[in-house]
Each structure stands twice: as C-alpha cells, then as structure tokens.
C-alpha cells in the first residue's frame, strides 16, 4: 500500500463520533470520484453498531441517532432531512452521492450546503 493511500485513513479527531473508526484502506475500496478528476481519494471508515435498532440487524451500523447539540458529523455522515437520523457510509460522502435513509424510506443526494457542510436533498422521482 502506498504512503499516499495510507494517509487517506481519517484522523480520529475528524470522526466527530466515537463509532466511526478510521482504518487503513482495504485495497480497491478507496476510489477517486472519477479517474483523473483531481480529487483526493476518499477516506474509508469501519462502521460499528451504535445501538440504533430501527432497521434490521444487517443495516443497523449505517444509521445512528443524532444526539443534538454537542454531537457532530464525521465526513462519512449526513443527516436525513426527513426524519433526522444520521446516515452513515463506509466511505467519505461527497456532493452528488446517493444515500438512502432506511428508517424513513427516503432517497437523497448529498449536497454542499451554503455554510460549506454536507447536507442532503430528498429525491422523489
């Protein structure tokens, strides 16, 4: 594994929550958005079950409860605008990504918000 790839593992202080743990990227899991698009490869994350029980077991680690003021989002997390659950991914989210909220059955696209943070827009089509 090259040094450049090793550096893609997200520092713990960027995680924003105890459950999103950075790990050395598995070969083949860190991919640029498009080959040659000039963006850094995405950071990848190992997800742990945080105790969210509102979906079947195999999907639980992909969601967690937003803890309110004092909580923060890791780069691999966004908030569902419909039900306010935190949606998680093995990979860092980037604008244009598709995400699904299973607890409320919503489909969305990741967008860059005016304040620079990542958010989501529900898609209905």
């Amino acid at each position: 594994m090259s040094k450049a790839t090793d550096e893609q593992a997200a520092p713990a202080e960027e995680q924003g929550n105890r459950s999103a743990v950075a790990y050395e990227s598995v070969p083949g899991t860190v991919q640029p958005d498009e080959p040659g698009d000039g963006q850094a490869p995405r950071r990848t994350y190992e997800l742990e079950d945080t105790g969210f029980r509102e979906v079947p077991k195999r999907w639980r680690k992909f969601y967690r409860v937003w803890q309110g003021p004092g909580d923060s989002l890791a780069p691999n997390e966004i908030i569902c605008p419909v039900c306010k659950v935190v949606i998680r991914s093995h990979r860092e989210f980037r604008p244009g990504d598709r995400a699904y909220c299973m607890p409320c059955m919503s489909r969305m696209i990741v967008v860059r918000m005016p304040d620079g943070t990542l958010g989501a827009e529900v898609i209905y089509q």
């Binding site: 598995v26 899991t29 029980r53 509102e54 979906v55 079947p56 077991k57 195999r58 999907w59 639980r60 992909f62 605008p81 419909v82 039900c83 306010k84 659950v85 991914s89 093995h90 990504d97 598709r98 995400a99 699904y100 909220c101 299973m102 607890p103 409320c104 059955m105 919503s106 489909r107 529900v122 209905y124 089509q125």
Partner: protein
C-alpha cells in the same frame, strides 16, 4: 431479499427499486420492530417501576394520553381504509404494517391509562378528546371514504404523523420513565409512516405538479385543526407558550420540500 450482504456492501448501493422493495416489506418491518420492542410487551419494560406522580401531573398526563389515543385511532382507521386505495403492492404491504403499528399505539396508550388508574379508558378518551382533533379525524375519514388517496395520505402521513412525531419527541424528553419508553417505541414507528407519506406524495407531485395547488388548499384548511389541538397538548404538559418548542417546524419543512407552501 437479493441484495449483496458482504461486509463492504451498504444500503446506498442498492438499486432504487430494490431499496423500495426492501423498506416496504413485512420482513423489514418485523425485524425493525423486533429490534426496539423486544422485552417491552406493552411498550415498556415490565420491570420498570412507575415514579410517584402528584394528582395534577397525573391528571394532565391522562388528558394528554387520551388525545394521543384520538390521534392514533384516527391513523388506525384511516390507514386500514387506505389499504384498499393503495396504488401498488409496495404501498399495500407497507400500509398493512402501518395498521399494525397504529393498533399497537392505541393499545399501549390505553394500557398506560390503566396504569394511571383510569377504569374505563374508552370513556375517558371520549370525555377528554380535544374537539378540534375529533373534527380532524372526521375530515380524514371522509377523505378515505371518498377514495381521495392524495388528500388522505397528506392529512394522515404528513400532517398528523409529523405533528405527532414533534410532540412525542418533546414529551419523551420530559416524561416519567415508563411513559418515555412507550413514546420512544411509538416515535420509531412514526419515522416510517411520515417517510412513506412524504415520499409517496413527492413522487406523485413530481409527475403531476398541478396537484400541489389542491393539496396546498387542503393543508390550509386542516392546519388550524391539528396545530391548534397539539397546542392544547403542550398546555396539558404544563408548559407556558414561551416554553413551547418551535411546534411544527419539521412539519413546515416537509411542506416546503413538497412545494405545498401557499
């Protein structure tokens, strides 16, 4: 379920149809509710002891729970009627799970009334029901009876469910431990219901933008009934207007996403 379940696979990789089939399924519902209701036969751990409550607090809680029952009975009757109107099997199957959820909500709130010493729960609900909530119930059932899927889904799954979700969340944050557990289970169910409503209407309005005008008019007509009745619930919870959280914020956000602002 045919999706890849290897460790690297995640829900966001599902094909859209596959995602919808998964989340509308009975299997998904069953595993989800098992996750948060196991060991809570009537919504709360039977070993959880009730805290002492003074007479006024108990009386206000009874009134609040009675009005929750009215809302849940409305949703039970409406969702069961909507099964017949559903446009496809995904929706029929989902609504069948919603019927079960709403029946459970009525049951757990009636059980809680029992715990609080109410001898005849049904009579107490009738006696303490907010008239505006009763009127809303009649309006929703009329929509179902005349086969108006869009209006009924809006009234029940967007308007009523959003407001219940807001109120239940707030109440859970200040409630006694038993009531809090009961409410937590109900809130988990409400996520599915309000999500179903918004997404179903969102898809329809994307195909038929002209439908927005009609739904916006229905919204303008129904809002005062529901907003007013939940304002009453906040009073019953012992809060002054200044202490009330921004009631309806999430509902208004949903209305805006659907383009139903007037």
């Amino acid at each position: 379920m045919t999706a890849d379940v290897s460790p690297a696979f995640e829900p966001h990789q599902l094909d859209e149809e596959e995602f919808l089939r998964e989340v509308h399924s009975f299997s998904f519902w069953f595993e989800a509710v098992e996750g948060y209701l196991e060991g809570r036969p009537y919504g709360a751990d039977p070993e959880l002891a009730d805290e002492p409550m003074d007479g006024d607090d108990r009386d206000r809680l009874i009134t609040t729970l009675c009005n929750y029952c009215v809302g849940e009975v409305t949703a039970l009757e409406a969702s069961s009627g909507l099964v017949r109107l559903a446009p496809n099997h995904h929706s029929r199957i989902f609504l069948a799970t919603q019927v079960a959820d709403e029946a459970r909500h009525v049951e757990v709130f009636l059980r809680r009334l029992d715990d609080l010493g109410v001898l005849d729960g049904e009579a107490e609900v009738r006696a303490r029901a907010n008239p505006r909530l009763e009127e809303f119930r009649q309006r929703v059932l009329e929509m179902v009876d005349r086969g108006d899927w869009e209006a009924a889904v809006f009234a029940q799954n967007v308007l009523l469910e959003s407001m219940e979700d807001t109120v239940f969340r707030f109440h859970a944050s200040i409630a006694d431990p038993v009531t809090r557990q009961v409410l937590e289970g109900v809130i988990a169910d409400e996520r599915r219901h309000l999500g179903f409503g918004e997404n179903d209407l969102g898809r329809r309005l994307a195909r038929d933008p002209a439908g927005r005008e009609r739904l916006a008019a229905i919204r303008a007509e129904l809002d005062p009934l529901v907003l007013g009745s939940f304002d009453g619930v906040y009073r019953d919870l012992g809060l002054s207007r200044a202490d009330q959280p921004s009631l309806g914020r999430d509902y208004l956000a949903a209305v805006e996403r659907l383009g139903l602002t007037t």
